[in-house]
């Protein structure tokens, strides 16, 4: 029997909903997805719940319309929520337990339990706990300690948590569209789940999820998630910079960013030196701006973003451990030449990330924009379908009304 899941992303620039279906133990197929421009969201945070509710209703309607075209008829009742924003933090926490003689399976359960006792402030909501390596007495970096002799077993973890009110706002907005939020998930780790190969996690890799309002990151070393967070700068900042530099509307600036701008300055030499900006209304005349000035604005913003990331990674002593390089995901990863600039600024191999563990997104023009939502569906498939029938039924009951 197939399992069906839905994932919702309320982004700064777009609201996206996707539905995935897969056999237990098999690969997931994204059967349908829809996206519409977001309203009422800034820097990945909801400023107008009513507008967001309308956006969620919009994607639900679009999904239902697409499903009906294929002869299906479902009503989506719940979805996993993908969240981002600079309110998301990650803190390390170490659990420990006493071992008698050799480490047993029960010790692993105990130390895992201990590692989950970290108390968050009331205004924080836990998104994820990522287990890292074990240590036994003074010996660290152990992946499977069962059978080893020692006295104190420890487990390092990374707790990712978010502002509870921000998550509640998203729940309220979805509620208004009669959509129940199943579980909030961090966008950057979802994206990493979708695009990273196992060898990349082992060798050290960084996933940068470049959204409209913020940039999430997730760093992996030795197979473990070792650092994660969000920088409150995204593609919208590029748009805003362009609007300020050339005194355009945000819509004109967005069009310049998507259609004309490059992250690298060199391209300006080989292209037409002027870029046309159509009038913002039929009564307004079009005008031109310097391509080099346009690229300078974009290049400055992205270089700064990569400099912030570089400093962040250096602080965590990670910069020289990410041997597999950087994978770019998110809508802003489609920016022209951004991979080349990231390579120069971060000094690592850089590639754009396409979802590799789900099917159905192969024909998308910008697959990197679907990484987080594919990762969320993949997470749902692996963590819920394989659980008890009760859990499966509960989800199914919620999904279909």
């Amino acid at each position: 029997m197939s399992n069906i899941y839905a994932a919702l992303e309320i982004g700064t620039t777009r609201t996206m909903l996707a539905v995935g279906e897969g056999e237990t133990g098999g690969r997931l197929q994204v059967t349908c997805h829809a996206e519409i421009p977001s309203a009422g969201v800034r820097k990945s945070q909801i400023l107008d719940i009513n507008q967001v509710t309308q956006s969620v209703k919009g994607v639900l309607h679009e999904i239902e319309r697409k499903q009906s075209e294929t002869g299906s008829s479902i009503t989506i009742g719940n979805a996993f929520l993908i969240v981002s924003g600079q309110h998301i933090k990650a803190d390390p926490f170490t659990g420990s337990t006493l071992v008698e003689g050799r480490v047993k399976e029960s010790d692993l359960a105990e130390v895992a339990e201990s590692a989950r006792t970290m108390t968050l402030p009331k205004d924080r909501e836990l998104l994820d706990i990522a287990d890292q390596a074990y240590s036994l007495d003074s010996l660290g970096g152990i992946s499977t300690p069962v059978g080893m002799a020692g006295r104190i077993l420890k487990l390092d973890t990374l707790h990712i948590h978010a502002d509870r009110n921000r998550i509640e706002d998203a729940r309220t907005a979805a509620d208004g569209a009669h959509l129940e939020i199943r579980e909030p998930l961090f966008a950057a780790t979802c994206a990493a789940d979708a695009v990273l190969e196992e060898h990349e996690r082992r060798n050290g890799a960084l996933v940068l999820d470049l959204g409209g309002g913020s940039t999430g990151y997730a760093a992996y070393c030795d197979g473990y998630l070792v650092s994660a967070g969000v920088i409150g700068v995204g593609g919208d900042h590029i748009t805003n910079d362009i609007a300020h530099a050339f005194q355009t509307t945000q819509g004109q600036a967005e069009a310049l960013k998507v259609n004309e701008a490059s992250a690298m300055l060199l391209r300006a030499e080989s292209s037409s030196p002027r870029v046309k900006i159509p009038g913002s209304s039929p009564l307004m005349e079009s005008r031109t701006v310097s391509r080099r000035a346009l690229d300078t604005v974009v290049n400055a913003r992205l270089r700064e973003l990569f400099a912030v990331l570089r400093e962040t990674l250096e602080e965590r002593d990670l910069l020289h451990r990410l041997h597999a390089g950087v994978v770019l995901t998110g809508g802003a990863a489609a920016m022209r030449d951004i991979d080349e600039l990231a390579h120069r600024e971060l000094g690592m191999n850089v590639r754009r990330g396409r979802p590799i563990y789900v099917d159905g997104l192969d024909k998308e023009d910008r697959p990197e924009a679907f990484a987080a939502i594919a990762g969320a569906l993949s997470y749902a498939h692996h963590n819920y379908a394989e659980k008890s029938i009760f859990g499966f039924d509960r989800l199914l009951k919620g999904l279909f009304k």
């Binding site: 800034r42 820097k43 945070q45 409150g232 900042h237 805003n240 300020h244 530099a245 913003r301 912030v308």
Partner: protein, 359 residues
Amino acid sequence: MLLIGIGGAGCAMVRGVTRAFGDGLRYVLADTDAKTGEAGGPFVLIGGDRLSGRGSGGDIVAARLAAEDSVQSLDDSLEGVRLAVILTALGGGTGGGATLETVKHLSERGIPSCVFATTPFAFEGETRQRNARGMMTLIEEAANACFFIPMDKLVGDAESDMPGAMRRAADTLASGVTLFWRLVEKPGYIRLDAERVRHIIAGAGRGRFAYVSAQGPERAREIVDSLINSPLLLSASGPVSSILCGVLAGDDLRLSEVGFVSEGIRESFGYKASFELATVNDEETFSGRISVVLMLFESTRPESDESKGGEPARRRKQRAILSTGPTGRGRFNNSEPTIWNGEDLDTPTFLRKNISLEF
């Protein structure tokens, strides 16, 4: 009005203006090098304690710190001043470093400032060019009006010998400023008094500046042609919003010539721009000749009661930016700011990093 020369090149230009203008011009020279003051005239040594009067050695940061230390030593010269005009050269050393601190100090004292600054020749290298670009943005933020004049455009002739080219560039700018001074201090039939100039400058912003001269029966036409083709007035950054034009001539100046020049300028730079015209009639100096000083401003800053008293330019400039809000945060105005190392990352990067855009 007070004329201030900052740095070796700025002081040399001020001396050029004083020689050409004659008596009655109020000025002060400011430099980190004590030798500059040895030639006479009112002189203020910048950063005497820090640099011991030996100059900044081309170090902008040292000059800026020196000016921070001792900018108050200009105060004696500022008594009763309603408008300060600064001549300086950017790119390195005292002019590059001390000009900004001087402008900020004037602003704090409620004195509007108008900066004429040359920027380095292209052959002087990227470092000096970059230094100049960085300071231009900061000076523009702090000053009421500013004119940045590339030395390449002042000379225009690549075949000039180098010492001659440097001297000619400085002389050209000094001559233009001298004519501007005459407009204010020795007005003719159409007057432009100091208070009106102060009013215009206080809300001007960044502008373009040129002066041309011609003689003979077609002198008015030649004036207009020269202005239209002047490299100093070429810019693609935006439409002109206000024009200040001074016509200086002898007693033979005809009404038709004034009309032809003003019409030619308005036709070339826009009828929609506000237009201020003034004349000087000085038979002794300009007999048979017409000189025209032209200032073009691309954005007129809103003048408030505060600005009449010399409101800090930073605030006025912020109000003038319409589409993205006072700080450039634009659509992020009501969002929680992203602060990194003390900087608000929601503000456009190119603004915070003082990156000049080649429009």
